[in-house]
């Protein structure tokens, strides 16, 4: 079969000592930074980007694979031990995981997270292996109109499906879209919104925005809250292994989590909150003792962790196959790949298969490495978390400025970082979500290109988006996702006003 042959070829590339070394560097650095509180996978990938600049694209992709999975895993360690989830997907893990840590069973929580991540990661990567080429086949029939519709859908789902309020998501979305306008318009060569600053000709780098919003914004926020929130770090007491009972209670949630996680991650459903929450609710419904949930039920860690890792694999499917990022992390990775002059999508599968398959093969390898390396290394991660908070966050600022400055070696990026960092702080205070901004920053310009190309092919006829059945269908779904919740909420408000 074509897919197997490609995958084997990918393994041949990934299993060279050189690439294996980079894969392990990626896994270790990804976990180390993912473990740091407040730093999620998107920021981890963004911060570690400069490290990959020296590598050729294949090895860089492979290192990304390691960083990605490592960061996802690191976040769960923090959630269990420190109760400060590094990203929204770990919130659910923190619920029962931290409860387990408080009762002295941190080791079991970490173990079930690690093994569950491995199982789900393998299943997810397997699914990716088959789903991605299938998506490519479908995408080959897509024209610019369909791509545009798909991007609108992705933007709508990232904005409307998560978060507390639609208006906050929309503010974030608009901010990202506006930032994306800065730079040279590809189709006409016209400069837009550069205000005479030559460094802005290339546009605003997504890495700077990601680092500013996530790292700087978060760090400032934590500093302003430092007086009011103390940390509780739970040392690992007891063994790192699970009892047979715990194994028995974990394996089904692992599988269920994986099968919930991958499809939801692959759909433009905006990342990993939904799969993890869904998995938690599912496990609670199916458990023999649902009252235990919230107090340290191991199923509440096993399921969501598996769902998290499987959805991480799922997110890669549209990203690699269509060039469509459905989460902030995917957006940063897409930007990283674009910096190599590579555009993920069907063309990449056809023209540079060794890149894509090398990366997918590395996902399997990274997965194994995570299991092998992380359980013994857990002691080191705990030491990392014990670094006094002031130094930890000061160090984060240092790495943020390092990553930002070395992108283009100019100070303007640091200025942008500063402005966006302050904006990020404000967003954190007002609970304005960050993901829509990041995804819009990269999808906005892409969507615009497809829109204009579609119009040009249709010779200026805007109905082309609705006469193409696929495009019309996708746009209809997007509209539903946007307007139905609004209508429902309005109805609720009316009902409450009457009652």
């Amino acid at each position: 079969m074509d897919t197997f042959a490609s995958l084997l070829h990918g393994f041949a590339i990934a299993l060279t000592p050189y690439n294996l070394m980079w894969a392990s560097v990626g896994v270790i650095m990804g976990t180390a930074i993912g473990v740091l509180p407040g730093i999620g996978p998107a920021l981890t990938v963004a911060l570690l980007l400069p490290v990959t600049f020296q590598l050729d694209p294949t090895s860089a992709f492979i290192m990304f694979a390691g960083i990605y999975y490592g960061a996802v895993y690191g976040g769960s360690t923090t959630a269990i031990l420190l109760n400060t989830p590094g990203e929204s997907a770990s919130i659910v893990t923190a619920l029962d995981g931290h409860a387990m840590a408080r009762t002295g069973r941190a080791g079991a929580a970490l173990a079930t997270a690690a093994i569950g991540s491995f199982v789900a990661g393998t299943i997810g990567t397997l699914a990716l292996t088959f789903v991605a080429p299938f998506m490519v086949k479908v995408a080959l029939r897509f024209g610019p109109a369909e791509y545009f519709a798909l991007m609108v859908l992705a933007l709508v789902t990232v904005t409307a499906v998560l978060g507390s309020s639609l208006i906050r998501g929309l503010i974030s979305l608009m901010a990202g879209l506006m930032l994306g306008l800065v730079g040279i318009d590809i189709q006409t060569g016209q400069t837009r919104f550069t205000f005479g600053v030559p460094e802005l000709l290339d546009g605003i780098d997504i890495v700077v925005v990601a680092v500013g919003l996530f790292a700087v914004g978060e760090t400032i926020y934590v500093a302003t809250r430092a007086r009011y929130e103390t940390e509780e770090l739970y040392k690992i007491r007891g063994s790192l292994w699970m009892t047979p009972v715990e194994w028995a209670r974990s394996w089904k949630p692992w599988l269920r989590g994986a099968f919930i996680g991958f499809p939801l991650g692959a759909l433009p459903a905006g990342g990993s909150e939904i799969p993890t929450f869904l998995s938690y609710l599912t496990e609670k419904r199916l458990a023999k003792n649902p009252e235990e949930f919230g107090k340290g039920a191991i199923e509440g860690v096993a399921g969501p962790e598996a769902a998290n890792n499987a959805s991480a694999a799922g997110v890669l499917a549209p990203m690699l196959a269509l060039g469509l990022p459905t989460s902030a992390t995917a957006a940063v990775m897409l930007a990283a790949l674009q910096q190599y002059g590579l555009q993920p999508g069907p063309q990449l599968f056809q023209n540079n298969p060794e890149l894509v398959w090398g990366m997918i093969a590395s996902l399997y390898i990274g997965n194994v490495m995570l299991l092998v390396l992380n359980l013994p290394l857990v002691g080191i991660w705990v030491k990392l978390l014990s670094i006094p908070r002031p130094w930890l966050y000061a160090g984060i600022l240092v790495f943020a400025s390092l990553g930002t400055y070395t992108l283009n070696n100019n100070v303007v990026d640091l200025v942008i970082l500063w402005v966006i960092g302050l904006a990020g702080f404000g967003m954190r205070v007002y609970e304005i979500p960050v993901a829509p901004c990041i995804v819009a920053l990269i999808l906005g310009p892409m969507a615009e290109q497809h829109f204009r190309r579609a119009l040009m092919i249709a010779q200026g006829d805007p109905s082309v988006f609705f006469t193409h059945p696929l495009s019309a269908a996708i746009l209809a779904i997007a509209a539903l996702l946007l307007f139905v919740p609004m209508v429902l909420r309005l109805r609720q408000r009316q009902k409450m006003a009457v009652a």
Binding site: M174, P390, W391, A394, V398, S401, T406, L417, G421, V429
Partner: protein, 156 residues
């Protein structure tokens, strides 16, 4: 410490800023020269759409801000001094990174970051910061080949 009222004002500022940004985008777009060939789907189309949508969303946000629903729920206590210290540290780095180089500017940044959390042991912070900046210089500049600035004043 912030009062609930301060948050409401902040929310109104955000909404106002959104509207203002939308207006700015529309205004700046009208300045872009377009050759008539691309009139239908030129470089102005999306900026106008985005600017217009932003104005609309900003107006809706203003409604919510005045209703008070845009502010964070409950009492969120924030100590703003640390934010100022950190912002100051970052600014300092912006101004000193090229004249003075990576090590001094980053050490200062590190110290500002630590100070923002209330630690007062400046000497220890200095030592740790210096070590970190030198280590990152060696690892990233020497070993990994990224170019970190050495300081125009000294080596320029």
């Amino acid at each position: 410490m912030k009062s609930l009222r301060a948050y409401r004002i902040g929310g109104q500022v955000i909404a106002l800023a959104t509207v203002a940004a939308g207006i700015a985008v529309v205004a700046a777009t009208s300045q872009i020269n377009v050759s008539p060939v691309y009139a239908a789907a030129g470089p102005q189309l999306f900026p106008y759409l985005i600017g217009g949508a932003t104005i609309l969303i900003g107006l809706i946000a203003m409604v919510e801000a005045f209703r008070g629903t845009l502010a964070p729920d409950g009492e969120l206590e924030l100590d703003l001094l640390p934010a100022g210290i950190m912002a100051g540290g970052l600014l300092l780095q912006i101004f000193t990174i090229e004249p003075l180089g990576w090590v001094p500017s980053t050490t200062a940044l590190f110290m500002a970051g630590a100070m923002a959390f209330g630690k007062r042991n400046l000497l220890l912070d200095f030592v740790v910061g210096l070590t970190l900046s030198i280590t990152t210089l060696l690892v990233f500049d020497r070993w990994l080949g990224l170019r970190l600035p050495f300081g125009n004043l000294f080596f320029g």
